[in-house]
Symmetry: C2
Amino acid sequence: MLTTQHFSTHSIQLLQRKRPSEDSPPSKGRRVVSHPQHPGQCLSHCPQVVEKCLDLGAASARYVSGSMESTAFAEEVVKEAENTWGGLDMLILNHIGHSFFDFFNGDVDHVRKLMETNFLSYVAMTTSALPMLKESEGSIVVVSSVSGKVASPFTAPYSATKFALEGFYSSLRHEFIIENVNVSITLCILGYINTESAVRAVSHVINETPAPKEECALEIIRSGALRQRELHYPARTVTPTLLLRDLAPEFLDGLIRSNFRVENIKKAPAAQGSGH
Amino acid sequence: MLTTQHFSTHSIQLLQRKRPSEDSPPSKGRRVVSHPQHPGQCLSHCPQVVEKCLDLGAASARYVSGSMESTAFAEEVVKEAENTWGGLDMLILNHIGHSFFDFFNGDVDHVRKLMETNFLSYVAMTTSALPMLKESEGSIVVVSSVSGKVASPFTAPYSATKFALEGFYSSLRHEFIIENVNVSITLCILGYINTESAVRAVSHVINETPAPKEECALEIIRSGALRQRELHYPARTVTPTLLLRDLAPEFLDGLIRSNFRVENIKKAPAAQGSGH
């Protein structure tokens, strides 16, 4: 399993090989491990995460640190998995670049960079990993957001990148089915989760209780293992939102806006030019 | 009115100033015209289009030719409108870059370039035009596609760019409402239209009769003038598709695939690397 994690511009790719067990067929028992590319850039808690994976039964676990702003690095991570294990059964794409939670300030260059990290690096990793995933009849898990289905205010660049993921991967899923490629694609539509970064970014603005991150992580892995088309988590907020978006779009828009404490948004200065 | 048109990598920006009439209030009567930036690059039929606009009652009409692969050029077109007329009341974003209608071949660089033309140049033009549109309480019309709502096979890069437009502009619409910015945003969800380029690209693969382009063009302008949230054209195919996407997504996926004559798709060779 190759999982990307997001820590602003530095993304950590955690690769682990699951210890073979009786209930996992040999072709599905493989998980992939790598080692740090740039130890100096690694975030302090990565060794603990690896240790925890080993404690929980992984045959081995490693991480690679670098910036997913570069699709070259994204491809390098996949190569690392290939070189180390010669195969891959699950690719979980879960990293995002830093964005702001504010009115759009006209910074086109920020949108471009975010697209590189949140979308193009996903496409690059998928392309690189596909031969291995075809061989293992594996799974691609794309972690997206309810903001990738229904846009909210203050997230225009982020929403654009998350919407793009659905457009790309839903088209690819059709092609896999047509070509009899037995690689599943799961799109995870996450609501408000109590990760440290999400709570820090939006708790002062959103009138909602976040869902637990531990259960969320488990649901992401489960949805990939079960080869689900989509995961809605937490379903109690995500599923009704999606049902409303075409049946009553303007009502839903009003509902979304009423969920924000707009007075707590501090307006950022407008960008000078698009920075292209 | 500033309209972008798509002709592969060369995009033509048609700018016209409507002749003031009794039924249009002064602030809405303004339309904007420019002149060719690079006459050598202009496509042969542009002068005829301009002539037709004048015949139909435009006070003046001009065009600017160049490549929308560059957001710098996109901004230049808006500046041209500003310099010539000092204002703008409608921005119709309707250009797309060349893409293929085929299985995705792993060319990440193609996806990146298409995102630049189909999405980032839209954001750049919107940012540049916004001060003028705020002043005129004008309209932004974003021409998208049913492939920007529900993905089909053979359009992964294109779908990604069209989905991105919805994510970005739906978020921006919320922000305009919150800030009391009286600029409307209309998203045009077009089905299969009988433009020369669309028919050439997909008629051998799609089991569907295309809708007339003349009516489509009129509906696009009407939806912007009426400040509609979304246009579905032709409604007979687009609206039911959108209603099914959350109610019965897997049924809809099967229906979409059955609409293609897959045997007529000629498979392209895989890309060598991502070209970054």
